[in-house]
Amino acid sequence: MAARKGVVMEIGRDWAIILLPNGEYKRIKTNRFLEVGEIYQDRAGTQFGYAIAAVFFLTMILTTIDYFSVQAYAQISSLELGVNRWGRVISVQSKDDNGQRILDTLEMKNDKLEVAVEKIYNKELEQEQSPKESIQKPDLSVTATNKGSKKLEQKMLQRMDNGLQKALDINDKQNVKSNTKPKPEPSQEQDTLLNKNREPLPQSNRSNENKINSAEPALKINQHQRIPNLVLEVEPYNDEPQYMFGEKHPNEQGKHQED
């Protein structure tokens, strides 16, 4: 509406009758202090302000609606995650009991897709309910609600991959750092993992640790799995853990006395 301007003809408590330049009489609502005979002018700023506020609220509402609309469904093992256009998890559904168990213990609504995938993977590992192979490499797939948007599917799949990769990386590190649960029969895969992590050590200057590792046969490490893990944590000049387990290598004993 254009700014109005006119002569104030009559005034009341919160209204005034003005005569517009085109000869029209108009009753307006106003709380401004006006007197008869004065020229009234609409404050253009007020209307502009209202327009800005309206646009702002409309944007807010539309964004909120858009946020909660599922653009694609992402499948990871037995879970189905509804994802919005920004890759945030809006809804979660499980296909079987296993999935439901994860659902019951995990809160991943509003999480980024990467983070949700990471959480699910970690939980699966923890529960160890599903067969090892499927945990190591869960099925990932994305279906967009709008069938045309292959790009979105690709993007979401990429994000899921990223999340999974991150979870795998962290898990690897954790395996190295401390494996709190002693596993009676570590799988072949974990075994190689341990060996792999041990490999760079000879190059480091931790000479005493190096000796332990190289001196022990691979089979023995498997039997006392905790030892190598803990040894890795030991600071270069701290040999405490070796005594903690009361199991010392005969060669080792002599070395300590030397130190």
Partner: protein, 244 residues
């Protein structure tokens, strides 16, 4: 300041000021009734709310009149503008003193209108003088309309919404105001000369009838030479009043 009465008023005030300066203290009484509405209006505008005759600000304004009469110099402008400045300054001084004395009242925060510290130029006071001249016209028009049983509230209801219709109605009004016979008929009978308009001037009866009150008002504004309001009721095309 383009009202025909403006110069007259200025002369009157200047004369009164001269008399007052020459020692005729009664000169103030002559112009008091003219000055007071102006004083109150300047006070109201300065405070951003209605100031009645009994209020503190009104008495400050009265004191300011005396001060203005003492200090006025005709070479520096008109008396009313000078008086307005003095009143405004005194009221602002008063408000500042009040503010220092007491905590700020809540109304101070929500007050609308002029902000006290705003600098104003001469046009602020000239506008007030114009506003007052306009108010005089409006008051006169209101009285005239009462004879026709028309109120502004009604005019809001019957104002033609469409620009074309409004233009036509305004042309009819101008026609009535310019034609001696039609005008006399209107003033004497308090009715529109429907028959004449229709027969002689080929006016559309529907428009004339439906917007009767609107047309009468516009015709009164034209015929009574309301200087300020006239421009508001002229047909946009500046028609000469015969083509309808």
């Amino acid at each position: 300041m383009n009202s025909p009465n403006e110069a007259e008023l200025d002369n009157l005030l200047n004369q009164a000021w001269k008399n007052y300066r020459d020692g005729d203290k009664a000169a103030l009484d002559n112009i008091y009734d003219i000055l007071m509405p102006f004083c109150l209006r300047v006070s109201s505008k300065t405070c951003g709310r209605y100031i009645g005759n009994e209020e503190e600000e009104a008495s400050i304004a009265r004191m300011a009149v005396l001060e203005a009469l003492e200090k006025f110099n005709p070479a520096k402008g008109t008396f009313l503008v000078f008086l307005g400045k003095v009143i405004r300054n005194r009221i602002i001084d008063y408000k500042r003193k009040e503010k220092r004395k007491s905590i700020i009242p809540f109304s101070f925060l929500v007050r609308s209108g002029t902000i006290l510290t705003d600098d104003v130029d001469d046009s602020f006071f000239e506008n007030i003088i114009d506003d007052m001249a306009r108010k005089q016209e409006i008051d006169k028009l209101k009285k005239l309309l009462q004879e026709f049983n028309i109120s502004f509230e009604e005019l809001v209801q019957v104002s033609p919404r469409q620009a074309r219709t409004r233009e036509n109605a305004q042309k009819i009004a101008l026609l009535i105001a310019k034609n001696e016979d039609l005008r006399r008929y209107l003033m004497e009978r308090k009715l529109l000369p429907m028959k004449d308009l229709e027969d002689k001037w080929k006016v559309d009866r529907k428009v004339a009838d439906r917007y009767r009150k609107f047309i009468i008002t516009a015709a009164l504004i034209h015929s009574h030479e309301f200087f300020y309001l006239k421009s508001y009721v002229l047909p946009a095309a500046g028609g000469d009043g015969n083509g309808c």
